[in-house]
Amino acid sequence: MKHEWIETHTSHFLILTLLVISIGGLVEIVPLFLIKNTVETVAGVRPYTPLELLGSNIYQREGCYLCHSQMIRPLQEEWLRYGHYSLAAESQFDHPFLWGARRIGPDLARVGGKYSNTWHIQHITAPRSLVSRSRMPNYLWLKDRPLQYSDIEAHLRALVRAGVPYSENQEQYDKNVALFGKDVANRLVISRARENLLAQVAGNADGNVVSPTEMDALVAYLQILGTLVDFKKYDEGYFARFR
């Protein structure tokens, strides 16, 4: 094959470049699709509630993933600092997943339950008031901006198309009851999304249910991260057997 044939025809050059680059990706990704054990069998992981989902959207909008990863690797140092390594099963309902690669800030995969709601609100608004050497920006607006949730049903329906089991009819609801139990299944009903969202806001720090803020959603999302799997139920070698 002559250089000329490739380099003087953009289409040839483009197709061959894509072909060569895709090999690297395919070799890494395709095996994981073919092996059943990739996603571990584990109890407790559920889709996000409407409020948590909107929190995740705000997390993405503000670009939190640019500095915070959500992926604890199976290394001793990370085990000691952050806790149990992340499982594939824990992000099975994430679209998109927010594993991230950069750690300008700490990993957040298990931040849920580590700090109180009020701590999070102060920290997100003014990080340096709590951690003097922090490089995180002050997200001043989240506390005051009203949460837009009028389109929550559309968000949930979009995720249904991606395979997340929010329920639209009785059959899907029954399936969710079998999968997650009644309490969780009730929070995954699309037609009750607004009602569920407001009910969850009521448990938040300021107790202001009338006008939920973006902060309410973001904090609800942070508080759920990494808390769904009860690792005490599994012996130490259990998750190694999925590799």
């Binding site: 002559k2 250089h3 000329e4 380099e7 003087t8 395709v30 095996p31 073919l34 092996i35 059943k36 054990n37 690797r73 199976p74 290394l75 001793q76 085990w79 000691l80 600092r81 806790g83 390594y85 339950g113 580590k114 700090y115 109180s116 709601n117 009020t118 701590w119 102060q122 008031s129 709590l130 951690v131 003097s132 448990g203 938040n204 720090a205 300021d206 107790g207 012996d235 130490e236 070698g237 259990y238 998750f239 190694a240 057997r241 999925f242 590799r243």
Partner: protein, 215 residues
């Protein structure tokens, strides 16, 4: 083709830009070329030794010669190479792991007061708690009372060693409106870790708030 036998012959890439601009088709330096072939040879070796090729279902080549040994529930397990087994192996069999396990068991069995009384246990407990304090407590309590940003009052002390242990275990304000103020660390930390932290925090507290050591 250009090769080692025809070093002086330089071909061009055969197309001409802007009327007269041509490009030499030189080989890369020989060392680079050798390194490239070395990576190809290495990849074959790597496929054989490490888990590599999937064949559908649960079967994939597991690699040879590099089994990892770890203990799970008192049973020795041999696994094909993978990072999760490697982590267990490291935690269980690295230098000092046996001693660490022994001390953790001693701390689990001892009361906080007994830990304080035992010089060796105290030394171990301090070094364990120092790291845990940095990872988990500093962000609210600060590393001294002057920059205790969120939970300063906690350091006032006066609740005794057992009080510290109970507070760390169960947190503060569970079930109140707006959620807890301090998390229940029994969900995140092990029993010896909590005890070590209780002793560490109580000493830190008395050192900060009362210059003269008081029992």
């Amino acid at each position: 083709m250009l090769d080692a036998n025809h070093p002086m012959v330089v071909q061009t890439t055969s197309h001409i830009w802007d009327g007269d601009i041509q490009e030499f088709n030189n080989l890369p330096p020989r060392g680079w070329w050798r390194a490239f072939y070395a990576t190809v040879v290495f990849s074959v070796f790597y496929w054989i030794v490490h888990p590599a090729w999937p064949f559908g279902g649960d079967y994939y080549t597991k690699g040879i010669l590099n089994k990892i040994e770890y203990q799970s529930q008192g049973v020795t397990v041999y696994a094909h190479w993978n990072t999760r087994a490697l982590l267990l192996h490291t935690l269980q069999q690295q230098d000092g792991a046996a001693g660490r396990k022994e001390y953790l068991e001693k701390i689990t069995a001892a009361s906080p007061r007994e830990i304080v009384a035992d010089v060796e246990l105290m030394a171990f407990s301090r070094s364990l708690a120092k790291r845990l304090f940095g990872d988990n407590c500093v962000s609210c309590h600060g590393n001294n009372v002057a920059n205790a940003s969120f939970g300063g009052a906690w350091f006032a002390g006066g609740i005794g060693l057992e009080g510290f242990q109970q507070t760390i275990e169960n947190g503060i304000g569970a079930g109140s409106r707006g959620g807890w103020v301090m998390p229940a660390w029994k969900n995140r930390l092990s029993v010896p870790e909590i005890k070590a932290l209780a002793v560490y925090a109580s000493q830190l507290s008395s050192a900060r708030t009362e210059p003269t050591d008081k029992k």
